[in-house]
Symmetry: C2
Subunit: 229 residues, 2 copies
């Protein structure tokens, strides 16, 4: 069975990395079983065989693959007869935009939930996380999320192209989700797993899409420890 | 031969609709000849058979198709053996995000070039355009584009997901352009055709992609009357 190093908080079953969630759903989409290994920031040595220190890392036989986009490509190339994540080479190329938008949205969401992440971390991870993120943002975690309510409308307005798309089709992949969906969903699942802060209004088509994905694969994402349905 | 109603300015060969350009490139991609008909805002009667009053409108035999997305789908469905615009049903669904992002970008670009559009219009179109756009924006055309230099950095920053994608592949469709490229390019070609205002820095990967598309199809877009290469 494949093994996935999966970021965990103080509680072993609080798995919250937006990038790991992309792969959890991609594996479920392909119908592949996986053993997830709870991993924490201070365990970089455990990933050494991948040649770098970040998750997700997928271990398949003697292969160690890292980076959510590369892992998704690997799964598609290695299991071409299982349900497709991309719909062919053109769909794979087109999905790169979805993945990059997901990365951008994760960056935006961090301005709302970064302190909540911190509070859920294992004690051994807290000082690393605070120092590395405060260096990245050039301010304290508390300052990063300060006055977040006042920035919420801008965040929601910035999602308009996603909203327009989901008004005319249930998933970015069409009638069923593809990797483009998982790439965009990861950041929302991340927020859900570590913060009660409500990013979307209940009547937003993006919220409805999020709910459909929470329920997909027998509720894989929706049954994970988190703050709402 | 098919016929495309194509928005023109005072000069018959100044064709500048972002949505018509999507279809011009889609037709070239399929290798389909088309007769373009210069159309102006005050000629809504000419489109009556399409059931509405906006371009692009494609006439194929007795079929009148409007809306750039619907026309692209029609071309793909009607000419499945010609070079694909989407790469299959998954690629078509995924491209919807590119199309909607293109629409959003067109709206953003209007804040920079709307007055330049006005100045290139046929005299008969000017009052319609000024009234309809001033109603839409709730301010004068002059106010819409006021202090545009100060808004330029925000516009460029907002294109980050496009930029990230074009750093790793030459086109959104991969090694060659697909409809997703044409949908995103249309707004930039619109700006080029009617305004000298420089939206992108010369070293932006988006500017390089734009240049590649200007040169595609024997320079179809790049040789059209406009303000730079």
């Amino acid at each position: 069975m494949m093994k996935l190093f999966d970021l965990a908080g103080a509680e072993t079953d609080r798995r919250f990395s937006p990038y790991c969630w992309r792969i959890r759903l991609a594996l479920a989409h392909k119908g592949l079983d996986v053993e997830t290994v709870a991993w924490r920031f201070n365990e970089k040595d455990a990933l050494m065989a991948s040649g770098q220190g970040k998750v997700p890392v997928l271990v398949h036989g003697d292969k160690w693959i890292y980076d959510s986009w590369k892992i998704a490509q690997y799964l598609e190339d290695t299991f071409p007869d299982l349900p497709t994540l991309f719909g062919g080479p053109e769909g794979m190329a087109l999905s790169r935009l979805h993945s990059n938008m997901g990365d951008v949205i994760a960056g935006q969401i961090s301005r709302f939930v970064l302190l909540d992440v911190y509070e859920h971390l294992d004690d051994k991870d807290k000082s690393y996380f605070r120092e590395s993120r405060e260096q990245r943002f050039g301010m304290s975690l508390e300052q990063v999320v300060a006055e977040r309510e006042s920035r919420l409308q801008d965040f929601r307005d910035g999602l308009i192209a996603l909203r327009m798309t989901l008004k005319t089709q249930p998933f970015f992949g069409g009638d069923r989700p593809l990797y483009g969906d998982f790439a965009l969903f990861g950041p929302f699942q991340w927020a859900r797993c570590i913060s009660p802060f409500q990013l979307l209004t209940a009547d937003d088509p993006i919220a409805h899409w999020r709910m459909r994905l929470l329920k997909s694969f027998n509720g894989l994402a929706g049954s994970a420890p988190g703050y709402d349905a």
